[in-house]
Amino acid sequence: MTRAFLSGMWIHVVQFSRNPFDLSGVILWPILYASIAYYLLDARNDPRLLLGASLGAAVMLMWSLVVIGSSNALENQRWLGTLELLVAAPVPFAVVIAPITVASGVVGGYALVATLAWGTLLFHVPLSIDQPVAFAVAVPACMLAIGMLGLVMASTFVLYRAAFSLGIALQYPVWIATGLLVPLSVLPTFVGRIGWFLGPYWGFRAIREAALGPTPWPDIGMCLVVSAAYFAVGATCLRWFVRVARSRGTLKLT
């Protein structure tokens, strides 16, 4: 199963990298998001706030790439006619689908690094990371947490044909509920509580704490806990939704 997972991840990263449109987006978006952090949040006079804003923008981009990338990838499976073959494979379907969302997370990880690099290059964002080791662990932990949330959402993409539209619609609510778009302190309390159940919330906290704050490890731990929970929920949903799709006969539909 490990082999199927790693092979799936590799195949989907390669498949993604061979689409010039997707690739140009991944190159251009980090510049856009770095600009948002600099201009829109008006953080240019406070170096630490500027770094925090850049990290937030980078995690926003990471989430966008995962949710759009995995929904697009799932919709593509329908268009390519491979979804039925993936369902018919003898390995558990979650092991087939998880690599697609984690592959999007890997692309998102690159985008995070690229956003920070462009921020430093263009806007002189200070890359002074307080705890480099914790930061190096927090980034893949965040990728995993976001990728696994993508898996939960991918289960619905198996059931519904308009996966890509659903993926687009899911971008903003998660940005808001995790405090990536605006600080949670200015939003009603319940919004922050929703964020507790979302991987990007803990992923962003882990990365920010590793860069700026004193205690990143509890947040890194929470990333792993929510990732495991998401995998369990995602695998259960996938089993159930595939059963529903087999009953309705919708796996082949585009």
């Binding site: 061979r18 491979t82 039925e84 993936l86 018919a88 003898p90 796996l251 082949k252």
Partner: protein, 322 residues
């Protein structure tokens, strides 16, 4: 134990339209079919588009649940034990979908080998063997998007055989292929049959079923209309004569009128480049040519031929009333 056992299989598709007042529609794809396929047999499901062939294959390959009835594949229930079946069967469908276009054939095969749990030590050898079998050796590093339809179809077959399945399901494997490509695919299938592989083949080409299958079931409108060996099916029309009349500007109403003539068993038409070929089946010695030509008065008629029926005529005769 038969490799495949199907009893009274039904499948109905339900759909609904409309946001406020939802209208529900039901389409019956299978109306209670039963058959068995023995180990090592190449069994053909033959029928026109929409007959229920693909629905049958989807149920047997665990991709679709039946509405009622039972099926057993190698003794396992496709609805309740999909995992047991999936590791033992291969599934190949026709058309140019079902592959990762931007990847090479080799990458496609490697990925599916991992999904189908081909042991690491066997993977390289197995892929090389299959590329050789389907005639793609030397082209395996090219992207699939550059492949012809025939090459894609042969790659599909290689993918379906990666884990050396006990049963191979081939769903219209030659659909859309040019004659040369289709012949190559049929040769590959014949090779697999000669190796003793159990194969369930669906097709709407009579000659393909005749060339490859040991037994055939003809399906139309979701029910079986006949089954047997190709020779047995042909025997159903051995007492017939087929009259072929080339016409130009044939109207549908004329065809309906011909069907009512005494002695006519069936009438079908085939559209050619500039003309319509009228195929009329009748009992031997019915002497219908003059009567048919009288009915076609006013329509330009080309050549007229009376001949013995072929297997394809038997097929047309079987599926036409459905």
């Amino acid at each position: 134990m038969p490799a495949i056992e199907v009893k009274e299989l039904h499948r109905t598709y339900r759909s609904s339209k409309g946001l406020v007042r939802r209208r529900r529609t039901e389409v019956q794809a299978l109306g209670g079919i039963s058959f068995e396929v023995e180990q090592g047999e190449l069994f053909g499901l033959l029928g026109p588009n929409g007959a229920g062939k693909t629905t049958t294959i989807k149920i047997l390959t665990t991709l679709l649940l039946p509405s009622s009835g039972t099926a057993r594949v190698l003794g396992f229930d496709p609805a309740r034990e999909p995992g047991e079946i999936r590791r033992r069967i291969g599934h190949v469908f026709g058309g140019d979908r079902g592959l990762y276009d931007r990847l090479s054939a080799l990458d496609n095969l490697k990925y599916f080998a991992d999904l189908y749990r081909v042991p690491v030590r066997d993977k390289r050898r197995r892929i090389a063997e299959l590329l050789e079998l389907v005639g793609l050796t030397g082209r395996e590093r090219e992207r699939v998007e550059t492949y012809s339809r025939g090459m894609r179809q042969r790659l599909h077959i290689a993918r379906g055989l990666l884990h050396d399945p006990e049963i191979l399901f081939l769903d219209e494997p030659t659909i859309g292929l040019d004659p040369v490509g289709a012949r190559e695919v049929r040769e590959t299938i014949a090779g697999l049959r000669d190796q003793g592989k159990t194969i369930l083949l669906t097709t709407h080409y009579m000659y393909e079923a005749d060339e490859l299958c040991e037994r055939i079931a003809v399906i139309a409108g979701g029910v079986f209309v006949a089954s047997g060996t190709p020779a047995e099916l042909k025997a159903r029309v051995v007492d017939r004569t087929v009259i072929e009349i080339e016409t130009f500007g044939l109207a549908g109403s004329v065809v309906d009128r011909l069907r009512t003539l005494a002695g006519v068993a069936s009438v079908s038409t085939e559209t050619r480049d500039q003309s319509e070929m009228l195929l009329v089946q009748s009992r031997v010695g019915a002497g219908l040519v003059q009567a048919l030509l009288r009915e076609l008065d006013g329509i330009n008629v080309g050549k007229v031929i009376a001949r013995e029926p072929t297997l394809e005529d038997a097929y047309v005769e079987l599926v036409q009333p459905a």
